[in-house]
């Protein structure tokens, strides 16, 4: 296959207008900020650089590595772009990639493009860059490990956010979509993490100037670190919670009022039926989902611990 679509690109029709517009709003603000910031930091060189880098991400998504039995791992690239180009440039690059995928290949819809850019461009930049930035000044191994974890978490968070958007749109119940999406992307994320790290190793060897710590520090300040850590924490707490107690999440959401209960008919964000009473039918699914999510959480914590220990020894 020349170009194989990635499952995370939500097509038109799967999100309600309200959800689509909310995420368009956030995305537009972020992209506008990104345009402003890259203009300032990269200067006149930015345009060819980001254009060719966008083409690079696109082309790199065609690289795959055989895993087993005909399946192969794929590459999304958001975290890598943010780490090497800086978060703002990363956001612009991914915005260009996602819009061309939607426009040229109908991979992902137009009306929902805001949501797709948010998930795969903005979240991945925040997490990928934020966590990597956190490890700056540390040993090389730790930095690379952080890049890997960031890439994995970025993939997972993007999948989580896509699930939430689908649920908010009443397309699918939370207890089904979260385990399914996170389960699939846990594997895709591992491939993503490994390729990201291997690519960084190559770049560090051949063009160390592109990966120097001052350059990274210049590209984004501590705000990104805080943002990255917060989003990561939110995702790590939210995903098991959401799959174990979907009604709980919903109640929180209602209390916060952002679901706009008063809206009706066409703008109905949350059709009633997505409030499931923990019926017997759903119970087994929920259990499975919770188990999967907890497993992931545990793995993440273990991995983080062992890495921190390694870092301390160094």
């Amino acid at each position: 296959m020349l170009y194989s679509p990635v499952y995370m690109h939500i097509p038109d029709g799967f999100l309600t207008l309200a959800v689509s517009l909310v995420f368009w709003g956030i995305t537009i603000v972020m992209v506008a900020l990104a345009v402003k910031n890259t203009n300032r930091s990269l200067g006149e060189k930015q345009i060819p650089l980001m254009g060719v880098m966008a083409a690079f991400i696109f082309a790199a998504q065609m690289l795959n590595f055989p895993i087993a039995g005909g399946t192969s791992g794929h590459f999304l690239g958001g975290a890598l772009a943010a780490i090497v180009l800086g978060p703002w440039a990363g956001i612009l690059v991914m915005t260009a990639v996602i819009s061309v995928q939607a426009l040229l290949f109908q991979d992902g819809g137009l009306l929902v493009m805001g949501a797709n850019i948010f998930n795969m461009g903005i979240l991945t930049a925040v997490i990928g860059f934020g966590l990597y930035r956190l490890a700056i000044g540390q040993k090389r191994v730790l930095r690379l490990a952080m890049a890997g974890i960031g890439a994995w978490l970025a993939t997972m968070t993007a999948a989580l956010m896509a699930s939430l958007q689908l649920w908010l749109s009443g397309t699918t119940p939370l207890e089904i979509v979260i385990p399914a999406m996170l389960g699939v992307h846990a594997f895709i994320g591992i491939g993503e993490a490994l390729i990201t790290v291997a690519a960084l190793v190559y770049i560090e060897q051949t063009r160390p100037d592109l990966m120097s710590e001052e350059k990274t520090a210049q590209e984004g300040g501590h705000g990104w670190v805080i943002g990255g850590v917060l989003v990561t924490l939110a995702a790590v707490i939210l995903s098991p919670l959401a799959s174990a107690h979907p009604d709980g999440l919903e109640r929180v959401a209602e209390n916060l009022g952002f679901l706009g209960r008063g809206m009706d008919a066409p703008f109905q964000i949350l059709p009633d039926y997505t409030i499931p009473f923990l019926g017997e039918t759903a119970l087994s699914t929920i259990l499975a989902g919770a188990l999967g999510a907890l497993l992931l959480l545990g793995l993440t914590i273990l991995l983080g611990r062992s890495l921190i220990r390694k870092g301390n020894q160094a």
Binding site: V201, Y202, Q205, T206
Partner: protein, 258 residues
Amino acid sequence: MPVKHKADFELQLPECEGDILQIKDLHFAYPDGFRALQGISLSVCEGERIALVGPNGAGKSTLMLHLNGILGENSPISIAGLTLEKENLPLIRAVVGLVFQNPDDQLFSPTVFEDVAFGPLHMGLPEEEVKRRVQEALAAVGMEEFGSRLSHHLSMGQKKRISIATVLAMRPQILVLDEPSAGLDPRARRSLIDFLRGLSITMLVSTHDLQMVAELFPRMVILDEGVIVADGATADLLQDEELLLAHGLEKPCLSAAD
């Protein structure tokens, strides 16, 4: 430095009827419907050196990609007695060493050593053997000291040599080179020609460099629009100016060199 093909992990090839490569009426169309090869037949004997020439788009690269099964599954091609079938592919790729035109595509590992080791490692050879083969292949192209260098920083001519080494390390029976002299300066080109001359192995080389053909390849095959329009002794074909002109070629200078 000729590469010797006697070692512990030598391939046991089935008996071959005198021809190491046989193609019988090969047709091929790209997915977009373009018929790039329209009935190619070719026999190559062990040890022969053949030049494949023809204008841009003639189908030279397409034909070469068939020779180790990258294009056209189940083509009417037999290599060292093996038919081009899915289960034979790994073996065929060990027999046919294919070097692409652009060394930047061929060299994808950070260091030269890793790149040359790719083939042997993929074949599942033990580490010691891999190391020995890499050393040997690098020696064959005269780049022993370059193992730890980054491929990225080499000159074009050096990259070309390393590309050939990546394939030599697999100990192929047939070496297939796609435009090896393109983009080289005269000095690098000259040293490539001398190197190829010293290599005693069956060789099929596509090129636009007719002067090199005249120097190095006794047999010459002219391809145009997916068919073989001439196949014979280089010395004869290069005299036929009409034929050359008709297929976008030009009679090279035969006096200046050598």
